[in-house]
Amino acid sequence: MNKISKKETIAMLLAGGQGNRLGKLTKTIAKPAVAFGGKYRIIDFPLSNCINSGIDTIGVLTQYQPLELNAYIGSGQPWDLDRLYGGVTILPPYVKGSLGEWYKGTANAIYQNMHFISLYEPTYVVILSGDHIYKANYQLMIEYHKEKKADCTIAVLDVPLQDASRFGIMNVKDDLRIYEFEEKPKEPKSTLASMGVYVFTWEKLKEYLEKDEKDKDSHNDFGKNIIPKMIVSKERVYAYPYKGYWKDVGTVKALWEANMDILDKDKGIDIDDYRWKIYSRNPVLPPQYIGEGAEIKNSFITEGCTVEGFVDHSILFPGVIVKKGARVVNSILMPRSRVEEEAVVEYSIIMEDLTVPKGIKVGEVPEIITDDEGITVYSEEEVNNG
């Protein structure tokens, strides 16, 4: 490899997660490749955040069902990440010497790719995950990290007290230095929750990754091991208060909600912001056709769709067909799915390429949506069973 010029900051994106709690949605694809918001995938958000923040060198760590994700990322061109130096690099697990090692924890995944990071001799490394929907300027966070002379800076969100016990909570001093990190505390002392976005000074991170590898009891995880160890060792770990929309789309319900949120400007995420574009790989499809007799309200509809029925508060991905007399409400229709005449879809996610047959009803109006049960995922199983 040619010597690569130095980059001040590079980003490492953890995209290996299986996303168990997304169930059927991640049966054949990795979580970051899950479709979102009409024409995006979850990974479009961290990738677009990077390029909009001026970070043009990104390692994407993959492990679980990566084919679709790899093909989607490709050369990185859709995110303007096809560069002579840097750009986006897929980092799968590999065989070294005569042994192959899967990525164990998040920290181990980075540890195994330290040679990649070293190529660019960065000063700072941003660690991101591919599970969250938000817009953030990482450059501002790096400036903050520099100001604080921090070794590690963790983006935090102020959450309602009743939700705090579901998060990793940071207990901070007045200057926002973190003196304690508690993973899902029963009695939270603070409401500052980790967003899973870290800025590390590379020298420091390297030191801790190497130490952590030698610790046989470690889970090799950032949240469980690296960060607590750094705090205990009195390293300068700071919280960076983030304001704005942020959503972990780790469950079917959260994914559904995050989709619905983009329909509602008050919810705080505007995907149509020319100063902070969310990039994605565009399908080659004709414009959408809205037929006579169609009725559409508060919905996002994209290229290749044909709508002749009723669509309310829903999101239609590329190539979706909604026939005459069909009714789609509060639902997400994944690419190339079809709702036939007189079929009804409510509070549902219809998976790619599937057809809801004529007259069939999918999903129902939940009394209160409290958990995943509220949302029906219409997948091949349903088709085969029914």
């Binding site: 918001g37 009409g38 024409k39 061109q77 859709p78 329909l263 995907i271 149509d272 574009k277 969310i278 990039y279 994605s280 565009n282 080659v284 499809l285 004709p286 414009p287 959408q288 056709y289 809205i290 037929g291 006579e292 007799g293 169609a294 009725e295 559409i296 309200k297 508060n298 919905s299 996002f300 509809i301 994209t302 290229e303 669509v311 999101i315 239609l316």
Partner: protein
Amino acid sequence: MDRVMGIILAYSDRAAMRELTKVRTLASLPVAGKYRIIDFLLSGFVNSGIYDISVITNNNYHSLMDHLESGKNWDLMRKTGGLRLLTPLSRADYFTGEYKGTLDALNRNLYSIKKSDAEYIILSGSSIVCNLDYGEVMEEHIKSKADLTALYTRSLNGGKTVPRGVGVLKTNKDGRIYDLYINEDDVKLQDVNWCLEIFIMKKSLLETLVADAVSVGMTDFYMDVVKRLAATLNMKGIEVTEQFFEISDVKGYMRANMNFLNEEYRRKAFKRPVFTKIKDSVPTLYREGCYVSNSLISDGCKIEGTVINSILSRGVRVEQGAFVTDSIIMQNTDIKQGANVRYVISDKNVIIREGREVTGHEKYTVLIEKSTIV
């Protein structure tokens, strides 16, 4: 199709297009919402496996260059072949100014055509919207041993009036072309072979024909090559049995667009992919209270008003109470609250202010120039 090179003459703008070609070439005129005419032509080549394409343009080609960029979006950024934009003035001083006609355009770019190691040339105009599969016609051309094959249709503009300037091929019963004429007035002819402006021949023949004709001062490929040599060369016509719409006046432009609202035509036109420039638009947002019917809508629009029998390009806003019908609305047009737009072609970046009314008629489309505020 490794041995075939496509040439698109991308500059035949005609006065009858009014302001539509004031800021662009005909080839880069928006059509069917998010496309330009050239998207269909390029996609036809690419879908047929032809990846070696020259686009010859004359002037006013800024929008064309801006649209095509590296050719990457049409899979035409290649190490061998790929897309080339050929402009006048690009070569040494003995050629100056704009092209004098199609023959001059070809002649002044022969140096580039000669470099390709293609065996065949498909020469295409840019005033007919088509996403042709060239596989079969190429085979037929080779089998027929014709020197030159011209493609024609018997169904142009859905049988409606064809404006002057379009060529008609006279063929005898074995398909041989014995004459060509250009209709000199708007006509409604049945049973004639409308020339599609697409010609197939060996590259070596094109080179010879162009050099010969230019050396005796001729300028037009139609009249000075095809018509003049119809008796000497073995020229065949091949009928393509699809519906074609040509764009040489505003009426034709309207017709070619509106035809995309027809399901059958749309299905055929998009059977093979049509590539265009990627714009990273968001999906279109349909707000409470909107009403949309029989319309083709591109991404990036926001619709709160009414849109009927219309075609919207990317980034169009139709505000509450606004009413758009039987119109073509190009990119980033803002139609403000309560405005009323009927039988209108609105060029890019137009603003129609609150409550304004712009109304044409089925027989006469009103045209709003680029970046106008009405």
